[in-house]
Symmetry: C2
Subunit: 120 residues, 2 copies
DNA sequence: TCGTTGCTTCGTCTACTAACGAAGTATTGC
DNA sequence: GCAATACTTCGTTAGTAGACGAAGCAACGA
């Protein structure tokens, strides 16, 4: 029950759902997600931590960068089912498609340039 | 997105998830759910309304009684998938089994007797 | 039709949550 | 080492959500 509630609570915020869907096309650095969502770094960091704790997302550290991706290895059945359901339900959602297009442009940018958000 | 968030928000509270799982063995009158959960009638009513608006549950009025059951007819794919996921994830959950046992005893009681909760 | 009953809605209070900026932490480069 | 960088955590504030009792509403019974 606790796992399920962690998942449903993680999925009950639009920003987190959008962030989750953004990871469909591959892993993203936190600064890329910040650029996509247009929220403060601390806010996005907290959102991603919640998705992480719910088991929906995995984190990989490479130097100073933190990359997030959809959970794949050793994922409990609850989280796996939830991911499947969300991705299937939102496949044709307008916001998700719009984010996907924005992301293809964000991926072209330099990571260090995106990290300017921490200093402005 | 709005539908999905209505569903995840409805599922992000333990009382509502328990109420939903309680409907697995068949429809229940509101007073039976109140007896099971031990919360105020107004609280349970609000919870069930949220589940209703999320499309997870259906309501049937029979005289003064309101019966709730899991959504079956014309259910959008999102809600259907969510129901499947939750039921599957919580099939072996202790609280759910305990509630199921309590319910078999509650079903034996008289509905009018259970409605005493509105007058105490 | 008028009171009773079963439930819903309203008003209120408390507790949690999303947002931010500031301060803290871990890693790199010099 | 030590500054800079890429986050994370902390502290605060404003909005939301869950709990309750009181009041309102719809259906039945006499």
């Amino acid at each position: 029950m606790r796992n399920l509630l962690a998942i449903t609570k993680a999925l009950s915020d639009e920003s987190r759902v959008r962030a989750l869907m953004a990871l469909q096309d591959g892993e993203l650095c936190l600064c890329q997600i910040i650029d996509l969502m247009g929220l403060a770094p601390s806010t996005i960091s907290k959102h991603m931590t919640l998705l992480l704790q719910a088991g929906l997302v995995e984190r990989r550290k490479e130097g100073r960068w933190h990359f997030y991706r959809l959970a794949r290895n050793g994922v409990p059945a609850e989280a796996k089912g939830a991911l499947k359901w969300v991705v299937h339900s939102l496949r044709d959602e307008a916001v998700v498609q719009s984010d996907s297009e924005k992301l293809s442009r964000i991926r072209e940018k330099d990571l260090e340039a995106l990290c300017a958000c921490y200093r402005s």
